[in-house]
């Protein structure tokens, strides 16, 4: 068979595979849309538009009264709830990072049993590492598969109503998310670079610190900041279960049909998200 024919066959097979993948994706999308009752036309009807407009119009003008924004003692106004939301997100993300680091180290195959760190390791040592790795991955999957709202409900029952329950909920859920991300990034590090550090006689921990982590530190920082932005949004709804923050204002104004106050709270959340976006972007630029 000539080289030209072989190349043509390979290209044809590649195209066929790509088409099959595309068809499979379209099939999955159709089934998923059917299950989700997805009907884009439903929101385009005149009635739907009028209803949405009527709902939105009830929020105007937003309530910016001093009593609502600042409250009577500063700590019972919307402004304090915004500050509390920010505080919950900062402490929650920090807790998540603290928990995620050891879990990620246990869950990264390149740290526990594979790659340059284990070039001369015994089969028993590798087997122990593999078991640790699987246990770590299992814990991470569990932590992030339970939604923050459910963790929030759980911690409200454990430590009572208030922002600390929110901190714990965000910290635990995001430890699962960040731990998986950190572990995946550590597994993607360049083995030659890692080996070059290990070859200097460094211990495994030193090699991880000075050979693997610095390769991905900017990415780790960037994703951590992204998760912080996510926790601000999450912290905004944890108040639904009594875990502090601006979510309390969202739920209470919806329940009492106080749409002007609701709109003010939504604008506050939006401003908070914009602020966090801006801060995160500046930090990312510094860390790049």
């Amino acid at each position: 068979m000539s080289e030209k024919t072989t190349r043509a066959n390979a290209t044809g097979a590649h195209r066929a595979r790509s088409t099959l993948w595309l068809l499979a994706f379209v099939a999955v999308l159709i089934v998923a849309a059917w299950i989700a009752n997805a009907n884009p036309l439903a929101v385009l009807t005149r009635d739907a538009g009028a209803q949405m407009w009527a709902f939105a119009a009830e929020g105007f003008p937003p309530d910016v009264s001093r009593e609502y924004i600042v409250g009577r003692s500063l700590r019972d106004g919307l402004l304090w709830a915004v500050i509390e939301t920010l505080a919950i997100s900062i402490v929650g993300t920090t807790l998540a990072v603290v928990l995620a680091v050891p879990l990620a180290l246990a869950s990264a195959a390149t740290v526990t049993y594979r790659g340059p760190l284990y070039a001369g390791a015994s089969p028993t040592r590798r087997a122990v590492g593999r078991t640790l790795n699987r246990a770590g991955r299992f814990v991470l999957s569990f932590l992030r598969s339970v939604p923050e709202l459910v963790w929030g409900f759980l911690f409200v029952t454990a430590v009572g109503l208030g922002p600390f329950a929110g901190v714990l909920a965000l910290g635990i859920h995001n430890a699962g998310v960040l731990g998986k991300l950190y572990a995946d990034f550590l597994e993607d590090t360049d083995p030659a670079t890692t080996e070059a550090v290990a070859a200097s006689g460094a211990t495994r921990l030193q090699t991880v610190c000075h050979g693997m982590v610095p390769q991905v530190s900017a990415t780790l920082a960037s994703y951590t900041l992204y998760r912080w932005e996510c926790t601000i949004r999450s912290a905004s709804i944890l108040g639904f279960v009594g875990a502090g923050g601006i979510g309390y204002y969202l739920v209470i104004t919806i329940q009492r049909l106080q749409y002007r106050k609701l709109l003010t709270a939504i604008v506050a959340v939006f401003a908070l998200v914009l602020l966090s976006d801006h801060l995160a972007e500046r930090l990312r630029t510094k860390l790049a």
């Binding site: 030659a192 070059a196 200097s200 460094a202 211990t203």
Partner: protein, 262 residues
């Protein structure tokens, strides 16, 4: 203690494909040897075996009759294996980790308590002013020199260098080899070089490697063009069937960084 590096019937395979087969040779203390050969000949594997980074499948590598242990043989990897986000000094200090208690080693490259040896080496490499610069801001030649300093800071009796002139123009190659000559002193030096011209000009002895086997092992001045042509012709196709571009004696021949196996 004798610093004779001995390969005795060494074989190493990765995923069932042999990288080096039945290698046997010795390098005396203070000797300077160049390893040449086509891509995929097993040159980098040979260095990794000599440094003790990977274990042999069969046969033995020894230094002064003893197995290779940390601190006695240092391997200077490609400049691309430096941590780009860290300074040249921090990268060189990584080479000292093996000599430090584990807890001190966690901080030393970032907050050095004794940076003098590393700074002295950077000075010898002509990089004093770049000590604080991130290595991803350095040129290829500068990175290569930092990588050499990272190995030399271990103060090993035997230095291995993996293509220290790779990706460098002829002038920078010469500079790097001049610096290497100067700082290596009376240590043993085993260097993989793609440039056979430099190997013959600047080393005492040349070992030709192809298909994982030693094809010749001769004083540099007796390595003829014909012998080099035979060496590169003996392994003219690579594993994927493509032809290895074998033009000995040019500065532009570079191996890709080898795919990494452990």
């Amino acid at each position: 203690m004798s610093h004779q590096l001995v390969f005795d019937g060494v074989t190493k395979s990765f995923d069932g494909s042999p990288a080096v087969r039945d290698l046997s040779f010795a390098v005396s203390g203070g000797e300077r040897v160049a390893i040449v050969g086509p891509s995929g000949a097993g040159k980098t594997t040979l260095l990794r075996l000599a440094s003790g980074t990977i274990a042999t499948d069969s046969g033995r590598v020894s230094l002064g009759g003893e197995p290779i242990t940390g601190g006695r043989v240092a391997l200077a990897y490609h400049g691309e294996t430096l941590i780009g986000r860290r300074s040249a000094l921090a990268n060189v200090l990584v080479g000292r980790l093996g000599a430090l208690p584990w807890w001190q080693g966690l901080l030393e490259p970032l907050v050095p308590r004794s940076p003098e040896p590393a700074l002295a080496l950077l000075d010898a490499m002509g990089l004093t002013e770049k000590a604080g610069a991130r290595t991803d801001s350095l040129s290829s030649g500068e990175r290569q020199r930092v990588a050499l300093a990272r190995a030399l800071v271990q103060d090993p009796p035997v230095l291995l260098a993996d293509e220290p002139t790779t990706n460098l123009d002829p002038k920078t190659s010469d500079t790097v080899l001049d610096v290497l000559d100067e700082v290596v002193g009376d240590r043993t030096l085993l260097t993989v070089l793609h440039d056979t011209g430099l190997a013959r000009e600047r080393f005492e002895r040349v070992i030709g490697l192809a298909d994982g086997r030693v094809q010749f092992d001769r004083p540099a001045n007796s390595v003829t063009d014909n012998r080099l042509e035979d060496l590169f012709d003996s392994d003219e196709t690579t594993g994927d069937g493509s032809r290895t571009p074998a033009v000995p004696g040019t500065h532009t021949q570079n191996d890709p960084i080898p795919s990494w196996h452990v």
